[in-house]
Structures are given as structure tokens and as C-alpha cells.
């Protein structure tokens, strides 16, 4: 009778270990899957900024010495997939006066989810393309809605 009790106890212990193992296993799998899309988040931010730079949208935002952000916001709306949000902080240095101005575009960063970030340098030319008027650095933060 005693032996049977021991066997039951051991059986229960083994079962408990198996259940705990299964819980750890599934928790780990869930975590593992949630890590991979982060790479896509980072790449999306990087691509958006590269497009803004290569298509000349950052350059063309400078009009009569003023940095107009409307066109950049509109371009982001067109480019960025609807389930993402992005915030840009653009620092411009006047190439003659060497003074800096900072402009922010997009919503505030959330605190409860993964945020991808990166940075890109660029220069702004005048309309004729024969004078560099500003040096710029654009920093982005991108996240899933």
C-alpha cells in the first residue's frame, strides 16, 4: 500500500514536471515569435527615411529658408504601412551661419511597446543645385500601432 503511495507521488511529480515543461515551452515559443517582427519594424523606419532622402523630399521641404514639414508628413502617409507609426526629429544646420534648428514630425513615442530607431545624414541644396544651404540629420523612431 505504501509502495503504491510512493508510485502515485512520483507519478504526480513527473506529471507536474511535464506540465511545467510544456508551459515553459509554449511561453518560450510565444516570446520567440514576437521577437522576429521587430526586425521588420526597424527596416520599415530605415526604408521610409531612405525614400524621403533619395526622392528629394527632405531637400524640397526647404522653401525660402523655411523648413516646411507638410510635404514630409504627406509623403510618410503615402509610404508608411497603415499599421505603423513613425516620429522624425530633424536637426538642420545652416551651412553659412552654422546654427542648428530642430523640427519634430509625428506622434509622441509610446512607452509600452518595441520602438525601432535609426539615423540618416543628408545635405540640402538650393533650387539650382549649386549651393549646399544646410546639413541635416534625421532621426526616426518607428513602432507598430
Amino acid at each position: 500500500m505504501n509502495n503504491k503511495g510512493i508510485i502515485f507521488a512520483l507519478d504526480a511529480t513527473v506529471a507536474a514536471f511535464l506540465i511545467i515543461g510544456a508551459i515553459i515551452f509554449s511561453y518560450a515559443l510565444m516570446n520567440k515569435e514576437s521577437v522576429l517582427p521587430y526586425i521588420q519594424v526597424i527596416r520599415t523606419g530605415s526604408d521610409v527615411l531612405a525614400l524621403l532622402d533619395n526622392e528629394g523630399i527632405l531637400n524640397d521641404a526647404m522653401e525660402d529658408g523655411e523648413f516646411e514639414t507638410e510635404d514630409i508628413s504627406e509623403a510618410i502617409e503615402d509610404i508608411l504601412p497603415s499599421n505603423y507609426e513613425i516620429r522624425l526629429e530633424i536637426i538642420l544646420r545652416d551651412a553659412s551661419l552654422l546654427s542648428d534648428t530642430t523640427t519634430a514630425i509625428g506622434p509622441q513615442k509610446p512607452t509600452d511597446r518595441f520602438i525601432g530607431a535609426g539615423k540618416r545624414f543628408f545635405v540640402i541644396k538650393d533650387e539650382g543645385g549649386d549651393v549646399i544651404t544646410h546639413f541635416g540629420v534625421a532621426r526616426y523612431w518607428v513602432w507598430l500601432k
Binding site: N3, I6, I7, L10, T13, V14, F17, L18, I20, G21, I24, F25, A28, L29, N31, K32, V35, L36, Y38, I39, I42, R43, S46, L49, A50, D53, I91, R93, A95, L98, G116, A117, G118, K119, R120, F121, F122, V123, K125, G129, D130, V131, I132, F135, V137
Partner: protein, 297 residues
């Protein structure tokens, strides 16, 4: 009965070991995924920083330097690399604005991102001891040099091996009209020996006059061509046989002339690119990239 107990203990031990091993493997795998995420993130940031700074330097260079570069792939697989620039300008004319802009941009980049080290001094020729701006055509290893070492800017082409087919040089003397009575139609030449290398020299001026001279020459000998102008000065084009592979030098003393030089390179599997001596390095976490700044295409 005792034996049953032992089997049971061994069985339980094996199952527990499997569960623990499984948990460890998964935990390592998660850590691996996170590390991979950091790696991907860092390599993307590195890529963005490196290529955006390189592109900006390229933009500044092409706005303020007198040199234009085009690379054209031809149907026969060969590649024409063409440099176009004004010669005869003083070093200060060329360098002052470009130098200042490059220096200011360097300061800006390093202030905003300390992990980037940008050295554009090789492009700021006024501040170099030898006052020579050197561009490299790769993978053919041909040097194109804008040389201000003698006070007057001239250009030199220095290939290292015979991996090119011909040189074309067009010199536009602008308002300094060509003296059509000089040599034949304005070009005089001193050819040491005829050979197999195809060299074409053309000249034109603002009056619409143009003259072309094509010769097959021996690269191992020194050959000199001169273009005469009505002002009395001459533009010298020398294929220097003392250089092993046909160094070419163009002087345009006291005359502002636009020189268009084309070198036809033999076919290669690699894409032809032009680099400067300026270097850029970015160090992020375990990732780093250091390279010469690519200026074309």
C-alpha cells in the same frame, strides 16, 4: 519491489532531465533571437549612417569641385569613364569653398554622431602637403590626379597595368581661340614611334572651330601634343613613356580650359567605381565599417 523503485527513479530523472534540457535550449534560442535582432538592428543603423554620410560627401564634392565624372557601360562590355573639369584655375579658386563645406560637414557629423569618424582631408587639397586630389578607378586601379603642386592646376592619369584600350581627350579653350596656323589645324605633335595604342586629341573654341587628331602610338615612348592659341600660349598633352603604362599629363598654362578626358577600360566582372582617398568609418556595438568614400557612380 526495490528494483521497481530504481526504475521509477531513473525514469523520473530522465524525464526531468529532458524537460530541463528543453527549457535551456529554448531559453538559449530566445537569447539567440534577441542577439540576432540586435545584430540586424545594428547592421541596419550602420548601413544607414555609412551610406548617408558617403552620399552627403559626394553631394558636397559635386556641388563645389570642378570635376564631373560619368561612367558608361558599352555594349562590347568595356567601360568609358569620363572626367570633365576646368583647368588653369588657381588652387584657391578651386579649393576654398569646397574645403570649408567639407570641414563644416565633418564637424556636424561628428558632433551629432560620435560613432562616425569622417576624414575628408584628402579631398581638401589646399590643406594637403602635396596638393594633389587623387581619385581611383576600381577595380582597374587607375589614378586620376588633379595636381596643384606646381601652383598651376594640371591633371595626370596613372594606370598601373595595361587594362585599358584608349584615351580620348577633348580640350575646350573657350574664349582663347585656337591658332589654326599652328601645326596642322592648331595641333602640333612630336611622336617618338608609332605603335598600337589608340590616342585621340580634339580641341575646340568658342568660335565653333574644332580639330581632331588620332594617332596609334607606342606607350613605352614619350609623345607630346601641343594645341596653339591665338594668344601665343600652348596647351601641352604628354603621354609619358617613362611611366610604365602610358601616364598622361595635361597642362593648360594661363588659359582656363575645359578638359574632357575619357579612358576606355577593358571588360571586367566587377562594377567600375570611382573612390577618393577620403575615408569614413562607423563603429556601432560589435559592428564597424571603414572604407574609402565612393564618389561615382
Amino acid at each position: 519491489m526495490n528494483r521497481h523503485g530504481i526504475f521509477l527513479s531513473i525514469g523520473a530523472f530522465i524525464i526531468i532531465s529532458i524537460v530541463i534540457t528543453l527549457a535551456l535550449v529554448i531559453s538559449e534560442s530566445i537569447r539567440g533571437s534577441e542577439a540576432k535582432l540586435e545584430d540586424f538592428g545594428s547592421s541596419d543603423r550602420l548601413y544607414d549612417l555609412f551610406y548617408s554620410v558617403e552620399k552627403s560627401v559626394r553631394d558636397i564634392f559635386f556641388v563645389y569641385s570642378p570635376i564631373n565624372i560619368t561612367i558608361q557601360n558599352k555594349v562590347d562590355g568595356t567601360v568609358d569613364v569620363t572626367f570633365k573639369e576646368m583647368l588653369g584655375k588657381s588652387n584657391d579658386d578651386y579649393a576654398s569653398t569646397l574645403n570649408r563645406k567639407l570641414e563644416d560637414f565633418e564637424d556636424f557629423v561628428e558632433a551629432k554622431e560620435p560613432k562616425v569618424d569622417l576624414d575628408t582631408s584628402a579631398l581638401r587639397i589646399g590643406q594637403k602637403k602635396d596638393r594633389v586630389l587623387t581619385l581611383f578607378i576600381e577595380p582597374h586601379d587607375v589614378k586620376y590626379m588633379h595636381d596643384a603642386s606646381t601652383g598651376q592646376v594640371y591633371l595626370r592619369i596613372e594606370p598601373t597595368v595595361l587594362n585599358f584600350n584608349y584615351y580620348n581627350t577633348l580640350i575646350d579653350t573657350g574664349s582663347q581661340l585656337i591658332n589654326q596656323g599652328y601645326g596642322v589645324g592648331g595641333i602640333r605633335w612630336h611622336i617618338s614611334n608609332s605603335g598600337t595604342f589608340n590616342f585621340t586629341l580634339s580641341a575646340k573654341d568658342n568660335s565653333g572651330y574644332s580639330v581632331t587628331r588620332q594617332e596609334f602610338i607606342d606607350l613605352a615612348k614619350t609623345n607630346e601634343f601641343r594645341i596653339g592659341t591665338q594668344g601665343g600660349t600652348t596647351i601641352r598633352v604628354i603621354l609619358d613613356g617613362t611611366g610604365e603604362w602610358g601616364f598622361l599629363k595635361v597642362w593648360t598654362p594661363n588659359i582656363q580650359s575645359e578638359v574632357t578626358f575619357t579612358i576606355n577600360l577593358q571588360a571586367t566582372n566587377e562594377a567600375v567605381k570611382v573612390y577618393t582617398e577620403a575615408y569614413l568609418s562607423v563603429n556601432l556595438d560589435d559592428f564597424s565599417k571603414k572604407d574609402l568614400v565612393q564618389i561615382a557612380p
